[in-house]
Symmetry: C2
């Protein structure tokens, strides 16, 4: 099969890779209908995260089940399925508490590489959620978004306790941040303020429910937000970048007793204990337990209530993945969908 491999920073190639096979009786093989490039794929692409030899890429996926292992009970060949970036048994105590990304048997899909024609999905019964029927082509981008960026933005909004009567601030304007806006709006937030300096992203944020845009960053951005909130700051802040600046901006943007939901994969962040202590905010985040939200998100998408697939503003054949990475790296695209 064809699959994306990162050889070194900036060096993305689409190559022939071995077809995946059932390795464990709980595995399934999925023929991918759509996959995509994640903001987190840009960390190694930019050389900020080490590239340890040739690495298959990708952890977002939707597709049709081709084959299942002998112990798979619920998932069946022919079903259209959505999974997320952690395989999970969905039955251990941690999964039952809603933290499937930290399942005691969790496996990270990034090492498997779903920017490809096929993928082996471990713990298929726990990991995959089947749609009620085969979705129409126009729903594919939104279902693919549920696989990571929507599920992650949704978790951030839930972790930030976005809801009725709340002012929600969103730090970052990538796909996860934009879908954090959508999630906050669906959860009933009263006011949604996004920090963004890119016109196309501001526009999409407004379509998703943002009520205000702040172009300033860091402490200047925080000062602008406080002007909008009687000097108090946001009740709920979504952080989806993962840098020292973005984390401090999120903490400082939040009022005492408020909630920061952070999902940007942390890079070289050190949180000063004294400032955090006196901020009196709630801090919760980490790798999103997307599986917790998938059934609800699939229902919202198939009913037409939400259209998160709008974050894909570039669609390319899988073989042109390198251009998809470049476009995101240059910020010419918010997010690239790849058709295998």
């Amino acid at each position: 099969m064809r699959g994306v491999v990162l050889h070194a920073p900036g060096d993305v190639r689409v190559e022939n890779r071995p077809d995946p096979t059932i390795e464990k009786p709980t595995d399934a093989i999925v023929r991918l209908a759509a996959t995509c490039v994640c903001g987190s794929d840009l960390w190694p692409y930019r050389g900020i995260e080490a590239v340890d030899g040739a690495s298959p890429m990708g952890h977002e996926y939707v597709g049709v089940v081709e084959e299942v292992g002998s112990e798979v009970r619920d998932i069946q060949p022919g079903q259209f399925v959505v999974g997320s970036f952690f395989a999970s048994d969905n039955s251990c105590e941690i999964c039952r508490a809603g933290y499937q990304s930290r399942c005691v048997h969790a496996e990270l899909m990034g090492t498997i590489g779903t920017q490809a024609q096929y993928a082996r999905i471990p713990l298929a019964d726990g990991t995959l959620v089947a749609t009620p029927e085969a979705p129409s082509q126009d729903l594919l981008p939104s279902l693919l978004a549920a696989s990571d960026v929507l599920g992650t933005g949704w978790f951030a909004a839930v972790a930030a306790e976005a809801g009725p009567g709340k002012t929600v601030a969103v730090v970052g304007d990538g796909a996860v941040s934009l879908l954090g806006v959508l999630a906050a709006c669906q959860l009933g937030a009263e006011r949604i303020v996004i920090f963004s300096r890119h016109a196309d992203r501001q526009q999409l944020a407004k379509e998703f429910g943002a009520t205000d845009v702040i172009v300033e960053r860091g402490d200047e951005g925080v000062a602008r937000l406080k002007e909008l909130t009687s000097g108090l700051g946001a009740h709920s802040t979504i952080e989806a970048v993962g840098t020292q600046e973005s984390m401090m901006q999120a903490i400082r943007a939040t009022r005492p007793g408020g909630h920061v939901g952070y999902v940007g994969v942390s890079h070289d962040v050190q949180l000063p204990g004294d400032e955090l202590f006196f901020s009196a905010v709630h801090l919760h985040g980490g790798p999103a337990p997307v599986r917790r939200f998938l059934p609800d998100l699939i229902a919202r998408i198939t009913s037409g209530a939400i259209n998160p697939g709008k974050v894909f503003d570039l669609t390319l054949p899988l073989d042109e993945a390198a251009e998809g990475y470049r476009a995101m790296d240059d910020r010419r695209a918010i997010k690239t969908l790849l058709r295998p």
Copy 2:
């Protein structure tokens, strides 16, 4: 009046200080019935926190109202009152959300110094809670505990979401930690594990509801806790020390999706973003909004449901405050009550 002044690390003196007077129309003057030495007073006493000239000490207090300013409506002379270490208006948006320690008009009582015969209490109507009637002498230690250590331990337990079915870990065995045990027990926790290596404190922890004691610290302590919790860690962890080691021990002791409630005043703590991210814990804490809990705590104390005053294992006249500090510094006493 007589009052405690810290002149330099280790140099505590009881001196004649000017009687406090009404400075603002929202002030009250309270004749103190009891006051005490806080674990946080030991930071400057030990020279870990800078001592900036002669500093009046103390921020815990109960007593009888002597006089009120012209704008005080609810609090009246003659009432027995309990306050906490932040004066607050109890009416701003932050107070109404339950974060009175970060009231928009908050004033820190530590700068006023309640280890004395009298104290001026700002924002008296918001800050002070009157008891239904003048309490008997035997209730004074418990009511004084409500003023800080009980209120702080209670907040830590609430922030850690201690409750039915939960295993709660407690990092530290000072007065706040011990009262965190009591709070977790009152909140219905199933199992309460304290990290302690002092026999007297272990004993009191058990009286307050601890079910298990772990003598190991740091990662060894975490490993022991995991053995007790099917490898998963605590649902809820109370942190009441404020060092790098104690914060990391608390985060590592907590299962993914669990809650860390931290109230130890942070000293030279830097939380590594990547470890925090992948821990997937909830982190909440800071200066406890004791005022939120005072009415409930006073009711539990006056009804005899709880006896938090047991943390005072040394009682001295105010004039012997220096010995009270020494005893706590040497760990000969858990907490010293001073009688003005």
